[in-house]
């Protein structure tokens, strides 16, 4: 004879349970070896809310270009302005579109458009160092369809190049133009290849990462090291940090705060 109704329901229920929790059961019996074996690294700089202060009173043109050179050197950022092969030179009409920049200098009216009338005349020719603002409310993260860009819990807006599909939604979302798209293969245009960091491929978006890879090694960001004290980096939620002390002492402005992205790069003017 076949099974009766009671027996049938019991078997159906058990197999449903097994089906729903099948993978969990396997994990319990034989936990994943590889993932469990990864451990936190010691000696990394850790913060709750990383932030940067740019002291425009100390920053001159030479220092600003030194900072951005240091940044672009350690991140293998290509330079399309003076290619080795003259055939690769770009048309001046499109060179701005092709340019890759993580940290660069602009004058006040470009960095803070619409706020010129509020500021004294003397600051208008200063080289305002611009970079990704690592917003608390980052629009690039909201629009990314693959979560290639995401906000870490320490406030860094990070790029996962492995996931970027090059849709450039984030570039449309970012009001600070902090992101650049690789319209061409950047590797031939990297002057001195820095072995400690990868290059990028054609078709991905890149930007400043607050030197996440250097923080993990216990180092300050490259631009901060090159700035001779004009850039201050630290944990905003740590009351004793240098960033907090600087913010307590000076009046600072931030870029385009009316947009509500809550940028975390402060400028002392």
């Amino acid at each position: 004879m076949g099974i009766d109704r009671r027996e049938f329901i019991r078997i159906a229920g058990l197999s449903t349970l097994l089906g729903l929790s099948g993978k969990g059961a396997f994990e319990l019996l034989r936990p994943g070896q590889v993932e469990a074996a990864l451990e936190p690294q010691k000696g990394a700089l850790e913060g709750k809310r990383w932030a940067m202060v740019v002291n425009m009173q100390k920053l001159d043109d030479a220092t600003a270009s030194k900072c951005s050179e240091a940044c672009h050197r350690v991140h293998n950022v290509p330079d399309f302005h003076s290619p080795k092969d003259p055939k690769d030179a770009l048309d001046p009409a499109v060179i701005n579109r092709y340019e890759i920049k993580w940290l660069w200098a602009e004058h006040f009216h470009n960095a803070f458009p619409g706020e010129e009338q509020e500021m004294p005349e003397k600051i208008k020719t200063l080289p305002f160092l611009l970079l990704c603002n690592h917003c608390n409310n980052p629009p690039c993260v909201r629009v990314c369809p693959t979560k290639a860009t995401f906000r870490r819990d320490d406030g860094i807006v990070m790029m996962d190049m492995h996931r970027c599909i090059g849709c450039r939604f984030c570039m449309a979302g970012c009001p600070y133009a902090a992101r650049s798209f690789n319209w061409r293969d950047p590797r031939p245009f990297v002057k001195d290849v820095f072995p400690g960091y990868p290059t990028r491929e054609i078709g991905v978006v890149e930007k400043c990462t607050f030197c996440a890879e250097r923080l993990a090694q216990g180092l300050m960001p490259a631009c901060v090291e090159a700035s001779r004290g004009a850039l201050v980096f630290g944990d905003l939620l740590d009351e004793k940090s240098k960033v907090r002390e600087t913010l307590k002492k000076y009046f600072t402005i931030r870029r385009k705060t009316h947009l509500g992205t809550n940028p975390q790069v402060y400028y002392i003017v």
Binding site: V34, P40, Q41, F150, P198
Partner: protein
Amino acid sequence: MADNNYKNEFGFFAERPKVEKKFYDRKKVIAGLVIFLALVTLPLWPNLGKTIPAPQRQLDTPVIQKMAEKDRQCLMPTEWMRANHMQMLVDWRDTVVRSQEQGAPSVREFVTPDGRKYLASLTNTCMDCHSNKVQFCDQCHNYAAVVPNCWGCHLETGKKLAEAK
């Protein structure tokens, strides 16, 4: 007499209409089919009956030769690495890049089952010993016809991060 009751949308017919069954252009069609099959299978002919030998890899790089005999071991047993290295690298990649997405601490170290610790990094750990990419990576990948895209971004120069500072 089912055949006599043949029906279509216009009504009944006395007989099923007679259609002549004929294979038109038989010679041309068959010749065309033979030529088509020959062309499609053309790439297979040269290798018919041959066995392509597995690649002979030279894995003794200077770094490995310098090591004492007992230290010459990978993070995991060779057989395991051969079968699972791609999964391991993907796990490393996701964990190292994204561990802080949800509040986990920064993760960069890999601990083997017998307690040795390594930096979880393809270019700085794997390629440090296996510095010959052509022998160590490309030979097998070419043989198996897999094209991993690691090297579009990652650099082959297997220097340690510490040296690069």
